[in-house]
């Protein structure tokens, strides 16, 4: 069951939640819609489910245009962030709801409910009320309820967002196992990059209502299309004008050619990890250009690294890097790094493509020898 989303736009008043979304979601796979809160991913999921109407654009499910089909006729299982359990029904009543409103025979419903409760490991709770279940159990029940109607498509809106870290981790492993058993096309929304990378076959990064990048988790991590994607999928720091992941930096205690010299200004330990803040020589004292380096605690100890010590940094071979200008380590545009330029402005002269960086969405640059033309309002010069 593949989903084809074409030219979808959605605004709430003045706020553009989604801008011209074009996306194909493959059959039989788990796809994650990943992005920051308020980025439009939940809105997109609700449009696919028919719980929200797009202002323009179409959604087709397996070739059939469903844009104007009401939610109840789409045969889509939907799991809500806050469970949306039917409080007055027992666990079995909740799971059987979709079948019962279709007037299926009682014994068929009972058999199906039993089968699903076994699948979600809640068979001993069939006669309890949802208020007697824990959050994780309620969400498993909600999932069984959604699966009971044998949906062509399963949509989950931040399904584990309201659960604590440990339960969340268990449930996402369990969701992956469940999918490998059932093979129902699944789309889930999350703002947790670890969840997306761990569970999904395919990740769609959505930010400010647009699709930033689509691909398998490994591709997104190794070849991010933009500084935003790189910053969102993991920690990022700046080393010598390049964005780089803090664990892709090699640290030396003696000078090396090409390596950046600096001083450790802060050393933190978080579990197995040592996090060092290295201030490059001659850099500002406010810490704005400090380089973050992550290494294992044991390695840090073997090098004998302490605060105040001088070190030399260089990128590891094959490390993922992107030009840093215009983007801070948090993945957000940082205008301080260069001077903003106006739309359509010609920046002729000795510039090369390396000197220009966009602010993710609104900047496009045409390069020609000796000339760079900027489009959009969010461009900076490095």
């Amino acid at each position: 069951m593949s989903i084809d989303i074409r030219g979808v736009n959605k605004s709430f008043g003045d706020f553009a939640a989604l801008t011209d979304i074009n996306l194909a979601i493959p059959s039989g796979k788990i796809t994650a819609l990943l992005g920051p809160s308020g980025g439009g991913k939940t809105t997109l999921l609700r449009i696919v489910a028919g719980l929200e109407n797009a202002d323009s654009g179409t959604v087709s499910i397996e070739g059939a245009d469903t844009t104007n089909v009401p939610a109840r006729k789409r045969n889509i299982g939907f799991v809500f962030q806050h469970y949306a359990v039917f409080k007055h029904l027992t666990v079995a009543g909740n799971v059987g709801f979709g079948l019962s409103i279709r007037h299926r025979p009682k014994d068929e419903i009972a058999a199906k409910v039993n089968e699903l409760l076994e699948l979600v490991h809640l068979e001993q709770f069939a006669d309890r009320l949802p208020s007697q279940l824990s959050g994780g159990q309620r969400q498993r029940m909600a999932l069984a309820r959604a699966l009971a109607i044998q949906p062509a498509l399963l949509l989950l809106d931040e399904p584990f967002g309201a659960l604590d870290a440990k339960v969340r981790k268990e449930l996402r492993e369990w969701l992956r196992e469940l999918h490998d058993k059932m093979h129902v096309t699944t789309v889930f929304v999350t703002h947790d990059q670890e969840e997306a990378l761990e569970v999904a076959d395919n990740v769609v990064v959505i930010n400010s209502g647009t699709v930033e990048q689509v691909g398998p988790p490994a591709t997104l991590y190794d070849e991010p299309a933009s500084p935003f994607v790189m910053g969102f999928l993991g920690e990022v720091t700046t080393l010598g004008g390049q964005l780089i992941r803090p664990h892709d930096i090699v640290i030396h205690t003696d000078p090396r050619p090409g390596a950046l010299a600096g001083t450790i200004v802060r050393a933190q330990r978080v579990g197995f990890e040592a996090r060092l803040h290295v201030r490059p020589e001659g850099a500002a004292a406010d810490g704005s250009s400090d380089v973050l380096v992550n290494l294992t605690r044991t390695f840090a100890r073997s090098l004998g690294l302490h605060e105040g010590e001088q070190v030399w940094l260089e990128p590891e071979d094959g490390a993922t890097t992107l030009p840093a200008a215009g983007v801070s380590a948090s993945g957000r545009p940082a205008p301080v790094l260069g001077s903003p330029r106006r739309e359509g402005e010609d920046v002729a002269g000795s510039l090369t493509s390396k000197d220009v960086a966009g602010s993710l969405t609104d900047c496009r640059c045409d390069y020609a020898p000796g000339s760079v033309r900027l489009h959009g309002s969010g461009c900076w010069l490095a």
């Binding site: 719980l51 045969n75 809500f80 949306a84 709801f97 409103i101």
Partner: protein, 264 residues
């Protein structure tokens, strides 16, 4: 201080509620059981009670159906004039029932456009049972709505959306999800409507014409018999009305903690 407060409360409630109600009971039994039986079997009393029950039945039914419907409209839909509607729905509670009766007269009396039209079509509203039902329904209008609206707001529309995604039609979603969720509020609102309708006097007096054995409800019979020097009948019927009211209050107080437990 604690004792002073207790004595004050006892005196206050005693003088306002307990003592008067007790005296009604005492006067009722002054003539012994035979007096009570005579009073209760008199044609005016039987007719009055029957008419009150009829008016209460329709008032509860109308206010149940429209109360739940309007509550859903107010909470789940956005439309122009919602604030105005909300204020209008409180009006019957804040305006004196006599004024309500007079206002209904202005619309439905036989010499008005609407009244003449309805009369021509064979329906008499004023000075007849339909007018009494109308007046009773009007004064009890907000009771169901004021109970149901906050509960609807509290439970939100999550469950309704979930039902919809599972294939439920709006009708199925209402019966299987929304109604069970607001059940206790609806029952509570109905009991309050019941009590209010049984005791309605002012509006009904104006629109009914107060004709003995025709358009006199129980409360009107109480006033009529009292003024016509049949106090024992008035007291007996009053006690019946008090007992009905206490029954309503008891039902409410039994339901109330269950409702609280549900919400917790």
């Amino acid at each position: 201080m604690k004792w002073a407060l207790r004595i004050f409360v006892i005196l206050y409630v005693g003088l306002l509620v307990i003592w008067p109600v007790y005296l009604v009971g005492q006067r009722t039994f002054e003539g012994g059981w035979s007096g009570i039986v005579t009073a209760l079997t008199s044609p005016e009393v039987l007719h009055g009670l029957r008419l009150t029950l009829v008016a209460t039945f329709w008032s509860v039914l109308f206010n149940l159906v429209f109360g739940v419907g309007i509550s859903l409209l107010l909470v789940r839909k956005e439309f122009r004039g919602k604030g105005v509607l909300s204020v209008l729905l409180d009006l019957p509670m804040s305006v004196s029932p006599v004024v309500v009766g007079l206002a209904l007269m202005l619309v439905y009396a036989p010499d008005t456009v609407v009244g003449r039209f309805l009369y021509g079509a064979g329906y008499q509203i004023i000075f007849a049972t339909p007018g009494i039902v109308l007046a009773t329904t009007f004064v009890a209008l907000p009771l169901v709505i004021r109970e149901v609206v906050p509960v609807l707001q509290e439970i939100g529309d999550d469950q309704e959306v979930a039902a919809q995604s599972l294939g439920a039609t709006p009708w199925q979603s209402f019966w299987r999800v929304t109604l069970p969720g607001i059940k206790w509020a609806v029952i509570y609102g109905v009991v309050l409507t019941l009590a209010r309708s049984l005791g309605e006097f002012g509006a009904v007096k104006v629109v009914s014409g107060n004709v003995s054995l025709q358009t006199q409800t129980a409360t009107l019979v109480v006033q009529d018999t009292y003024q016509n020097f049949q106090p024992e009948t008035a007291y007996t019927l009053s006690l019946v009305l008090i007992i009905l009211a206490i029954a309503c209050i008891t039902v409410v107080s039994i339901l109330r903690p269950r409702k609280a437990r549900k919400a917790a």
